[in-house]
């Protein structure tokens, strides 16, 4: 038994879950900041970013060390590769949270207007995708991960609808352009969060089943 190696894999997983918790919290806070227009919450998002970035580097280093020192095989190799990719996606989720918080701060400089887009609903859908993808990772549940993939289309559709609704608003009420543009970017950020959740779910499937389902691939096994 390679006890030390398998303990290290457990530590790597725990560290990634800490990273996941921070990224998920950042996106939740940015959504809360949008909903309440509370700039102090934006500050919390900004302040969480260095910790996420630091963890990203630490996790990459741990994964690199395990690859170099332990020469993992099969499911362990797939696990470490998945952790490296999920780590990058979580860092990007953190970046999206920061982007949203920046837009919320921008919006604070303008009068509050009623926008024809349901950002909280889009946010809820994207956050659910992230939560489910991470749950699938925690439980090594490829079926749950597959359910995340099916949600991506809905988020994309909501983002497209937001784009058309806000484009029309800009044409019809140009004085609301700054608010509409900020909302447009936030919708785009949330759509990207959904994409990262999709990537995480694909990595869970790769880890658990050894199947590469990226880009809709269903035919070629990863290994």
């Amino acid at each position: 038994m390679r006890v030390k190696f398998h303990q290290s894999l457990d530590e790597l997983k725990e560290k990634l879950l800490v990273m996941a918790g921070l990224a998920e919290q950042a996106i939740q806070r940015s959504i809360e900041a949008y909903r309440t227009r509370d700039l102090s919450i934006c500050e919390l998002v900004f302040r969480s970013e260095p910790a996420i970035n630091r963890l990203e580097r630490e996790i990459d280093q741990m994964a690199l060390d395990l690859l170099a020192m332990e020469q993992p095989m099969a499911i362990d190799l797939r696990f470490i590769l998945s952790v490296i990719r999920i780590n990058a996606d979580l860092e990007r989720v953190g970046d999206q949270a920061v982007n949203i918080a920046v837009r919320v701060r921008e919006m604070g400089a303008f009068a509050n207007v009623d926008l024809p887009v349901d950002i909280p609903k889009l946010a809820s859908m994207s956050a659910t995708m992230v939560r489910k993808a991470l749950q699938a990772f925690i439980e090594a549940d490829a079926s749950l991960a597959e359910s995340v993939l099916r949600m991506d289309g809905q988020v994309d559709a909501m983002n497209d609808a937001a784009f058309y609704a806000l484009s029309s608003l800009i044409k019809e009420q140009p004085d609301q352009t700054p608010q509409a543009l900020n909302a447009l970017i936030i919708a785009r950020n949330l759509e990207r969060v959904g994409d990262h959740a999709t990537n995480i779910a694909e990595d869970v499937i790769f880890w658990v089943r050894g199947a590469d389902v990226r880009h809709g691939n269903t035919s070629t096994p990863a290994a």
């Binding site: 038994m1 390679r2 190696f5 398998h6 020469q71 993992p72 095989m73 099969a74 499911i75 362990d76 190799l77 797939r78 050894g210 096994p221 990863a222 290994a223």
Partner: protein, 252 residues
Amino acid sequence: MGVGIQVEHLNAWYGSTHTLQDINLHIPANHATALIGPSGCGKSTFVRCLNRMHETNPIARAEGVVKMGDIDVYKDASPVEIRRRVGMVFQRPNPFPTMSIYDNVVSGLKLNGFRNRRVLDETVERSLRQAALWEEVKDDLKKKSGASLSGGQQQRMCIARALAVDPEVLLMDEPASALDPVSTSKIEDLIFQLKSQYTIVIVTHNMQQAARVAENTGFFLNGKLVEFDSTHKIFTNPRDKRTEDYITGRFG
């Protein structure tokens, strides 16, 4: 050129111990095939059955079919003939200590009655070149004994000795396990080059080595062939849980 090896219902015993149980597999020609598994799993017994070395032990016996190309190893040829067709390299280099490098390399040929000096000279150069040792020893062929070479050089000399009789198959039983990383790397490079001319079967405990040199890998456990597949499949996504447990170190 190498030949493919077809193994059907191969069983082997040491006394009453059933060490190989109903092994069936096809080893393709001109490929390197790795056999992995824990100590005592039967992988070395398996390769010793391929060249009928298993039966040199008085309490050992084997049953089943082993075909090398068109030849049924247990029916169509004598053990001596089979061992000429099937070269073998062992874990520790085993030079004849009192013989020169030259005589070590041609010892198999001489045993088979070859005496023509020109043929022997050509064979020594060809074999040592194939074993990537020629440049290092060409000036000392008859001056130095085989045992005076370094461990890595001795092992390559033993490979040259195996190649000198122009075999079709080369069996290697942990050929690099007693060697340093540089010598190991030379042996692995050699395997890569030799498989265009020979069918190579390599037993190894070093799974990274199996992954590096072999196109196909078989996993043995308790005398059974648990899984045989492309090396890529075995080391990234094996079908059998026992294979995965072994290669990920979750065994025992």
